[in-house]
Symmetry: C2
Subunit: 108 residues, 2 copies
């Protein structure tokens, strides 16, 4: 099933520019925050985001290509995990900041 | 001379969204990195940035309005300092990440 896994950048190819471009979008920041606050992988269909499925797919692609998330298949579901170590190496504090911001904007 | 000092947002009005929008631009990130690597305030005319003066003024305004820099006058020079404490509270690690990225891209 390896061929179904989309390409991911190597650690050395993750740039601050790419990460900032990805996270300047609030929907993408929300996806990252939800992953950071979760303990398990989340399938593309199970995020709480206010966009259509096709738009969501675009956002997941941007996040994957920027090096923020890894995607793999579990059956027919495309699962998402954070590349925590890679992000922390580039910008420690970023994931916590996204999560704090997300929680402050999400009604309890 | 207080009236010549442009307005700055309060700490509570600095948002992650605004900071990311400001720093997604490489020239603005370079300004922030140069300030982070410097010990003293830097006047608007003394940054190493590849843009015309009028464009630079726009970038300084964006950074000030996002809460990343403070500006004050020294004679006729508009001086810039980082709002380190405010930035560190919002996203610790950000300034160092910008500086590392800047240094990696700047020929020695």
């Amino acid at each position: 099933m390896t061929s179904r896994v989309p390409p991911h950048p190597d650690r050395a190819d993750i740039t601050l520019q790419g990460v900032l471009e990805a996270l300047v979008d609030p929907v993408r920041r929300s996806i990252v925050a939800q992953l950071h606050l979760a303990t398990d992988p989340i399938s593309c269909g199970h995020f709480d985001i206010p966009v259509a499925r096709s738009t969501a797919t675009h956002h997941f692609n941007v996040l994957r290509e920027a090096g923020l998330i890894r995607q793999h298949y579990a059956g027919t579901s495309r699962m998402n995990t954070l590349r925590r170590d890679d992000i922390d190496e580039l910008l420690p504090g970023l994931l916590d900041a996204c999560a704090r911001d997300h929680q402050a904007q999400t009604p309890a």
